[in-house]
């Protein structure tokens, strides 16, 4: 957002460029600014990342009643900028991390920085089935709280077995006639607290040990899915107007190809301090290799990376 760039000369070299302003990037900005570093957070949309689209946040310490992820990230952003972190509302398209200083190219300009924190997060994985691109927005959705209302009173399918799939199924069961939860295993990966809530839903049917192998389309819209048993190979067609995909995430790291070591899925390889193999380049939040991807671990990563950079630049 341009109004936040006031007073900045285009030739200034930033101490730290933070790519992505979700909880990891916003916390890195807060800590970097408080350490006296000049820093800018580059963000393609409004700050907040995935956390901002979380309707009810129940596991962020300090909030006993579920809070809105959007409100929380707005406060995080206000806090970081109050201490002097700048927000640049431009999407980063390419980086040159070997250059001195490091070079960041956005859709609208070029910037230089002594150090970089990659905090670009991740996005929902797709099933990668035929017809999927055409059916997105015509029955295929990656956001139950966004699109659930369009399927009020109808039958829908949720695909996945983690926390997102469980939360989506619970949400959709309140507004849809019937919810099928299709999972390729015979038990959910979701956190225990979701299991009982799911069991109590009368309009939920578990479809265990099954994978979606095809979309069934009617008049250019989703009419259902074909699932196949992973153990017996048996196929079954499920009629549904909506299919909600919650099969995990993919990191937003395409712009880093050839610049940073990535793992086989595309996550940025980083050590406990957030350091990558490239000097002065760190990674924080969901985009990095780690065990638990949550808002609370993202903010922790952001703090650690900013602290490491303060030391790196001293």
């Amino acid at each position: 957002m341009t109004e936040l760039q006031d007073g900045r000369g285009d030739n200034d070299v930033l101490d730290v460029a933070i790519i992505g302003a979700g909880p990891a990037g916003l916390t890195a900005g807060l800590y970097a600014a408080r350490s006296g570093l000049s820093c800018a957070m580059f963000e393609r949309l409004t700050p907040g990342g995935q956390l901002a689209t979380t309707e009810h946040l129940e596991n962020y310490p300090g909030f006993i009643q579920s809070t809105s992820g959007f409100e929380l990230t707005m406060i995080m952003h206000e806090q970081a900028t109050a201490f002097g972190a700048r927000t640049i509302g431009e999407e980063v398209m390419a980086v040159d991390l070997a250059a001195v200083p490091k070079r960041i190219t956005t859709a609208f300009g070029a910037y230089e920085a002594k150090a970089v924190i990659v905090a670009t997060g991740s996005r929902p994985a797709k099933l990668e089935l035929p017809m999927e691109p055409e059916l997105e927005g015509r029955g295929v959705s990656y956001c139950a709280t966004c699109d659930g209302n369009f399927y009020r009173g109808k039958d829908v399918v949720v695909v996945g077995g983690g926390d997102t799939a469980a939360a989506d199924a619970i949400y959709l069961a309140r507004i849809c006639r019937k919810v099928y939860l299709v999972h390729r295993r015979d038990a959910l990966r979701a956190t225990a607290i979701y299991h009982q809530r799911l069991q109590e839903l009368e309009n939920l049917e578990f479809v265990w040990d099954s994978e979606v192998v095809n979309y069934l389309a009617e008049d250019g819209k989703v009419g259902g899915v074909r699932v196949r048993g992973v153990k017996d190979g048996a196929e079954r067609d499920i009629a549904a107007s909506g299919v909600f995909i919650a099969i995990g995430m993919r990191p937003n790291t395409e712009f880093l190809e050839g610049q940073l070591p990535l793992d086989e899925v595309g996550y940025v390889m980083a050590d406990e301090r957030g350091a990558t193999e490239v000097a002065g380049v760190f990674a924080a939040g969901d985009v990095r290799t780690k065990v638990l991807r949550q808002a609370v671990t993202a903010v922790s990563d952001g703090a650690v990376c900013a602290d490491e950079i303060a030391e790196f630049l001293s």
């Binding site: 393609r44 949309l45 409004t46 309707e55 999407e91 609208f108 709280t145």
Partner: protein
Amino acid sequence: MSEVISSADFQSKVLDADKPVLVDFFATWCGPCRMLAPVLDEVAGEVAGRAYVYKVDIDQSPDLAGKYGVSSVPTLIAFENGQIKKQTLGAQPKQNLLAMLG
């Protein structure tokens, strides 16, 4: 803030407009819509004079949502001379919005 228009205004403000129009079909309860809103407002400011940017609240104007087959929010549709020129789903960065308006 980009103006929220209703079904009654749609013909005159969008379909009969003398310049390209970008319409954001949104809902007040949709997270990605809220992420998009400030970006949309920024674009509206930049294209003022050569294009129009409006928002349609799908709960206030279900007839428009139905007419344009909106079943995911946010959906962005660019109109020119009353015809759909481009259409995208989900929150988009600024350069994509500008590209939709040519």
